[in-house]
Symmetry: C3
Subunit: 262 residues, 3 copies
């Protein structure tokens, strides 16, 4: 595997079954993003089947965006099942610092050993225990402010930590990469961060956790950049994003990719 | 009633109230598909009102896509209420073979006597009891492989059985029809099968269950085919599909329809 | 503050955090509508955090579209918390007359003192206690038929009452205004009324409840009108609506606005 296109081609060929326990806002968009990438999404979150399904899935993603106690129990059971059966899983700690419920949920799920943690800068800072406040689901901190926290969180947890924002930063505690693709309009459309978590899930079965995460984030950011070039407003952008995810060639992806080791 | 357009005109005139107990992924798309067809959708699934609402609705659809025990109870109550009050209802057994919860839910709802069962080939095979495995929500079997199972399921249950896929197959156990409209891109957008279930619900009050189901499926497949001609990617396709459902004339529908008795 | 553009500029500058307890159908669209308007939406409805979050939010909206008993408890707790902490909140009594659960929920929430009540004519009539029947979620009464009920409901409750439809009507019981912008296609896309409730929430922190509600409704109707001029079908209209909400200038808004005192 050399460029992000190698990972994308592997996803399109394998059509991995990605189980997602995600929030109500993101479900539809995330499913379409995964379909556009060539994966097979399944939104399975019921307590009676979440853990059972995690055995047959190729990857699992857990997003605490619209959390309640019942869902949290299923998340914990599914994550433990994934861990037991060797299914890679991604934690998306939405607005983890905003309320006590979220903080506790984030810590509990972190304890089950996610393969990857994907959040915005504010979320990674909160999960790493360095946050002052928290303002809803949108990031109020810059990615660069969260890099030390991300390295620290990765070292302590053993997970790859991915911080998304104007620039993306990925680290496993030892190595780190920065991705400078993307477009500011991506912050003006809901559920794209959540969808990116799904993309990382789809890429995980194709290689090492660090390399697959970098490749998935690059693919998503490049598709966003390409879509933004063809659209001005947030409505048209959403349409173009799905089309770009579906249509982008491996050659274009590798050519547009701006990834640097840091 | 001669062509599918007669049924479509009846829907547009009557604006039937269609109650849908469906999954979180599909709710928004399904509501927009029903509005574009001229129907009046209502997403009513609470245990305290689901059965009450089924009395005033013109049709009911039940989809087990994002199931849990609480929802299943409401589905069963609403289906029984529909049965009691003569409201036609459609069962959409999403991923019925994938987990024990789904298999049991499918069998329980089947026992309440749906007017129509709509699924992909894998789901119809699973519900008919002939399935080996099951891989998430996407079909892994061809429609042609499910025709015998569909006839058998229709004969045993008294329901019209509709298998959707690259080609659609509809049977009531005695007669059967095949619809060859549509486009492969429809499998790359989430919740379109769920939305088709809503369309069948909207068409049911306009005629016999078999004829109305064939007409509804033809209308949806033709609109999909027309939309695909105007769009390459899955994002743009979704936009064009709603526009096609809304704009298509009866004449175009009848001209494009490819329906054969088998 | 003179024209609706003054309120819009204030929203875009302040990026208010709007907490929404809304239905599953609307969540994604409503979040995107709020982002396009420049606000920061948060869909927070869990019983364990809804009231806590209402303390830090700039506004709260509550929509009973997909209601159940558990959600109703959170709505009541969040509304009471908003009331206690001076957070303005909007009640959206979807299909309030359709079932007993909804009627009771509407009355209970009304008793907690919403800042604004936003509904279609049928819903306002039902909440004011003058309704005969009720047919799902779509209005079967004209806005003009609900004006007296709206004035009465405003006087009795102390809330601003906003009736949306072919024309919009806003009253606080003493004064009233009518907005004649908009387009009929808005009734053929789901969740736009719910999204308008979010817009009102975003505008509330920028001025008096009556003036902010009129400004928010005008902004949404003008954007809808502008979007309809660029699109024929309901699919394309949704795309254009988000783009129009995002792109519209204050000057265009004030020029297109058709608001009259009645």
């Amino acid at each position: 595997m050399h460029g992000p296109s190698d990972f994308l081609m592997a996803v399109r060929k394998a059509e991995p079954l990605v189980q997602n326990i995600t929030n109500y806002v993101a479900m539809n968009v995330m499913a379409n993003v995964l379909l556009s990438a060539g994966a097979s999404p399944a939104m399975v979150h019921a307590r009676d089947e979440g853990a059972e399904f995690a055995r047959i899935a190729d990857a699992l993603t857990i997003n605490i965006g619209t959390l309640d106690q019942e869902w949290l129990e299923c998340m914990a059971l599914a994550a433990a099942s994934a861990k037991e059966h060797g299914t890679p899983w991604v934690l998306d700690p939405v607005a983890v610092g905003a309320t006590e419920l979220r903080q506790k949920a984030g810590e509990r799920l972190l304890g089950i050993g996610p393969t990857v943690i994907r959040g915005n800068a504010s979320e990674i800072l909160a999960l790493a225990g360095r946050l002052a406040g928290g303002h809803g689901v949108d990031a109020t901190d810059a990615v660069s402010d969260a890099e030390a926290a991300a390295r620290d969180l990765a070292s302590r947890s053993g997970a790859v930590v991915a911080v998304s924002g104007a620039e993306d930063f990925v680290t496993d505690g030892k190595q780190a990469k920065r991705i400078t693709n993307g477009d500011p309009i991506m912050a003006r459309v809901t559920a794209l961060g959540c969808s990116l978590t799904g993309i990382i899930g789809a890429f995980l079965p194709t290689g090492s956790a660090f390399d697959a995460t970098v490749a998935g984030m690059t693919y998503f950011a490049v598709a966003g950049e390409a879509a933004a070039q063809r659209s001005k407003g947030p409505g048209r952008f959403q349409v173009c994003l799905l089309d770009a995810l579906s249509a982008i060639s491996g050659e274009t992806l590798d050519t547009m990719a701006c990834v640097t080791r840091v």
